[in-house]
């Protein structure tokens, strides 16, 4: 764990430097623009106040050097001078043009928005901050205005009358500030009559900022770590094994015997890849223990890899090239180990990459490997929906096991829990993984309650810290963005007594505990396979008295072991 920066640890609430949730909510007046007499937004870039708590720290030069990204230097967001390269404007405009030619999405989304405003109140950051530049349409307009100025005739000739504006350092700073206030959750794209996806625009925007060295450390550090050590946390191979062995000790206490997973083993049938966040921090660690126990119960022929030890991909939040570079390890390792297919753990943006990018980007690397269409060795089910990429989501895998009665389950062990499910943005809106997790939860828990329909499934809200914004220094941003989700959780907490928020995303598991602590302290966050492992009966296990967190199971409060 040598490479982990000190600031990685989330600060305790006192240091969040936040007012009470009530005061935070009071501060969200969506009707503050009343007359239309204010300066129009085209001219307000110089007035943008970069607020503490609403942005992440600048990337350290070392991160960029490690992966060969441009303009590494020490800089600070709060400084007037961001130490841009002399020809920054040329670089940005050249990059803009290049992306307009390579991505139809980008070009089209620059051209066709009618500013109908349907997306305006769909963004969690707008709802929670009331900052009009957080309306998805306006976030995109920050780019369109520059697009019109340099790439359309009307904008060149008519300027502001055509909604065009010059690219200045103020505009670049404004871009940066609002680019990194978007979690690329795609909720707005569901409501857009033309399917304009703000994530697509901010992905390009972030590529542009990265061309001139305006990165944030919370993204650049994991990218650099992942490149070298194989995972975002910078966990080196021996430490990775140690951390999993620590889970094995814990599991031994719970079930009474020790399980023996393998690492980097050639000839295994399945390669298991999950976000390293689950190996590193609570409550994700309990989910990781859940995987280990499930695979043990099945006697699955699988291996962990310390090289491809990251499911997530902060390259997605950096550039398409970086995404491809980090993702390549999955197929490279699958080929080296000679596995038949890859099983992927619970992660959000990882599944956006796996579903929408991985095959297109890197399937060539699987050529000549032993990979084939995934088949569950336990049930014989062919995962036809993963025929090409050969990677299966763990809830698809587990739902299939449960359907075929291959798991011995005692859901009453979760009877002290009243569970609701938070659809993570990417598996919901970039994949459509909606029923599998619900099916699993309902089979391992007896008390399940849905949140209001406008806040789940394809309309789900982001946790507020996705796309690499789950740092400690932007806590106000995270709480503001998390407000709509917290509001929905509070609703089911008050109505049904819900005390557990389940999710299939490692960033959710890192972000939502803080959000819950702040807004709905009665509710705790869990991964789905923690719930599975609690209900799972392993052959030869001792009578369970504690759950994966070491807390007494219902009815076992008096037990001696506790």
């Amino acid at each position: 764990m040598a490479d982990i920066p000190k600031s990685w640890k989330v600060a305790p609430p006192k240091a969040w430097n936040l007012t009470t949730p009530e005061e935070l909510v009071q501060d969200t007046d969506h009707r503050r623009y009343t007359l239309g007499l204010e300066k129009g937004w085209l001219r307000t870039a110089p007035d943008v106040e970069i607020k503490k708590g609403m942005h992440c720290h600048a990337a350290l030069p070392k991160r960029l050097e490690d992966v060969g990204m441009p303009n590494p230097r020490n800089w600070s967001v709060m400084d007037e001078d961001w130490k841009l390269p002399k020809n920054w404007k040329e670089i940005v405009l050249e990059g803009f043009k290049d992306r307009l030619e390579r991505f139809r999405s980008f070009k089209l989304f620059m051209d066709i928005c009618v500013r109908c405003g349907a997306c305006a109140d769909k963004c969690h950051f707008f709802i929670g901050s009331a900052d009009p530049k957080n309306m998805p349409v306006l976030r995109a307009e920050l780019f369109r205005s520059v697009y019109r100025k340099y790439f359309t005739t009307a904008g060149k000739v008519l300027g502001p009358i055509a909604g065009a504006r010059e690219l200045t350092t103020d505009v670049l700073k404004e871009w940066w500030y609002y680019l990194y206030q978007c979690t690329e959750c795609r909720r707005c794209s569901v409501f857009c009559p033309y399917g304009i996806d703000t994530a697509e625009i901010t992905l390009m925007g972030r590529e542009l900022t990265n061309l001139v060295g305006l990165n944030i450390d919370w993204i650049a550090a994991p990218v650099a770590f992942c490149n070298r050590t194989g995972n975002h946390m910078g966990i080196q191979p021996h430490a990775y094994k140690d951390m999993i062995e620590f889970f094995l000790d814990e599991i031994e206490t719970i079930i009474g015997y020790r399980i023996e997973p393998t690492f980097n083993r050639k000839g295994a049938e399945i390669l298991f890849i999950t976000p390293s966040g689950d190996v590193f921090g609570d409550p994700g660690t309990y989910t990781a223990m859940g995987y280990l126990m499930l695979f043990e119960a099945l006697g699955l022929d699988y291996t962990w890899s310390t090289y491809a030890s990251e499911g997530g991909n902060f390259g997605l939040f950096t550039s398409h090239d970086m995404m491809k570079k980090l993702n390549a390890k999955m197929y490279a390792e699958a080929k080296r180990l000679g596995v038949k297919w890859i099983l992927g753990g619970e992660c959000g943006h990882m599944w956006r990459v796996v579903n929408q990018y991985m095959g297109t980007m890197n399937l060539d690397l699987a050529e000549g490997s032993k990979m084939e269409e995934p088949v569950s060795p336990i049930t014989g089910t062919k995962f036809e929906n993963a025929k090409s990429t050969k990677m299966v989501h763990i809830t698809e895998f587990t739902a299939d096991l449960i359907k075929h009665n291959k798991l011995k389950l005692d859901p009453s062990r979760n009877d002290h829990l009243k569970v609701t499910y938070h659809d993570s943005c990417n598996p919901a809106r970039a994949m459509g993984l909606l029923e599998e997790p619900r099916y699993v939860i309902k089979n391992v828990c007896n008390n399940f309650y849905e949140m209001p329909p406008n806040t789940i499934r394809e309309q789900t809200y982001c946790c507020g810290g996705g796309s690499g914004l789950n740092a400690g220094e932007d806590m106000e941003l995270r709480m503001r963005g998390g407000m709509p989700r917290a509001n929905a959780v509070k609703y089911v907490n008050e109505k049904y007594g819900v005390n557990k928020l389940a999710c299939v995303c490692a960033i959710d598991r890192a972000v939502l505990p803080n959000t819950m602590e702040y807004f709905v302290p009665e509710v705790d966050v869990t991964g789905i396979h923690e719930l599975v492992a609690n209900a799972l009966i392993l052959e030869g296990e001792k009578e369970r008295t504690i759950d994966l967190r070491g807390e007494p199971l219902p009815g076992m409060e008096e037990s001696e072991d506790v």
Binding site: L42, R115, M135, G195, R429, G432
Partner: protein, 351 residues
């Protein structure tokens, strides 16, 4: 450019546009005896139509030439996965894996504005609870506007075809169903005006909309409103000479342009504003009409795990290889009992 400036500017431009044919066809002949009907009735409409078609084709070709490197549909329903997980009609449309599903999704999107139909309104101010209200007004206004516009355009085929297509009299019949006035009042024209007024008021009254609206948003609304008004005035108030007008319009489509006698100024006003709309179209947000068909979040199926989607400019893979990784950590790996490809060099060799 704030809301008020944008309003003044776009209103001013439309007023100027109205003044041009008034000057050209009404004032000039009366004052100077110069006749410019041929300019407003023939030359400008021809140019406008050329710009319209060439502009749209150019823009669509530009979009079409641009590759679609990744499959990025917004999935708005359950994916097709295990056979026993429900994947019915709703799912096929909102999260399609097949071309048929995509076609269905696009038809609903283009003809029914389905995404807009999903619209909700967040109620949230100083209280702590966020509530969601159904918000179908924008959808209704947009449907009314687009469909009335379509009906009006189809009705206008009366002026450009001889004989008329069979559907034109049917449309006229239905459109004029409530015969409470003579000549028959077509509801589409009135509804179109009402829908435009609603869309305009919405921009003015909702603070969020007022903040985001640009000149390019007010201008087409004012322009189309002006077109609707001149059309209504021509039909119901000034009672334009339909026979002469048809002679002119038929002359245009048969490429034997003529300027018949007795066509009133209001007609030139109307056709000039329509010409402006045509010429403005390819350079404006109105191109969403063509663009919606090309939107990658709507017109792609979610099957990239089943069939590989090809990116034409996919760069060669460059990544930190396992070999480099093992070289970096070999000794630690051996010490931890992790398998390695190459054994560590002996301490002597390392010296």
């Amino acid at each position: 450019m704030n809301a008020i400036l944008s309003l003044i500017l776009s209103g001013g431009v439309v007023s100027m546009l109205v003044a041009i044919p008034l000057l050209g066809v009404w004032a000039l002949p009366h004052v100077f005896g110069i006749h410019l009907e041929w300019l407003f009735g023939i030359v400008i409409p021809y140019f406008a139509v050329i710009i319209f078609f060439v502009g749209i084709v150019y823009k669509v070709v530009q979009w079409g030439k641009c590759p679609v490197p990744f499959r990025i549909p917004s999935t708005c329903a359950q994916q097709k996965s295990l056979p026993w997980i429900k994947y019915g009609y709703a799912e096929k449309l909102d999260n399609p894996v097949s071309t048929a599903g995509v076609v269905g999704r696009m038809i609903l999107e283009v003809l029914c504005f389905r995404s807009l139909f999903k619209n909700t309104r967040v109620e949230f101010g100083s209280g702590e609870t966020i509530t969601y209200k159904s918000a179908k007004w924008l959808w209704l206004g947009a449907m009314a506007f687009h469909y009335c516009f379509l009906v009006v355009i189809l009705r206008h085929l009366r002026f450009f075809t001889e004989p008329m297509p069979f559907f034109v009299p049917i449309i006229e019949k239905v459109d004029g169903f409530f015969q409470f006035f003579l000549p028959t009042v077509y509801q589409s024209g009135l509804l179109l005006g009402a829908a435009l007024t609603f869309l305009l008021l919405r921009r003015l009254l909702d603070p969020k909309l007022r903040y985001i609206s640009l000149v390019a948003d007010y201008f087409p609304l004012f322009l189309i409103l002006a077109i609707v008004k001149t059309g209504i005035l021509m039909r119901y108030v000034f009672k334009a000479d339909v026979v002469s007008i048809k002679e002119l319009t038929m002359g245009l489509v048969t490429f034997r342009p003529v300027i018949p006698e007795g066509i009133s100024v209001i007609f030139y006003l109307h056709i000039f504003l329509v010409s402006i709309l045509f010429a403005y179209f390819p350079f404006s947000k109105l191109m969403h009409m063509a663009g919606v068909f090309l939107s990658p979040t709507r017109n792609l199926s979610n099957n990239s795990r089943i069939v590989r989607h090809i990116n034409p400019w996919n760069p060669p893979p460059k990544y930190h290889t396992y070999e480099a990784y093992e070289d970096d950590f070999r000794e630690k790996m051996i010490e931890a009992g992790l398998p390695v490809e190459k054994q560590a060099a002996s301490p002597a060799a390392k010296e």
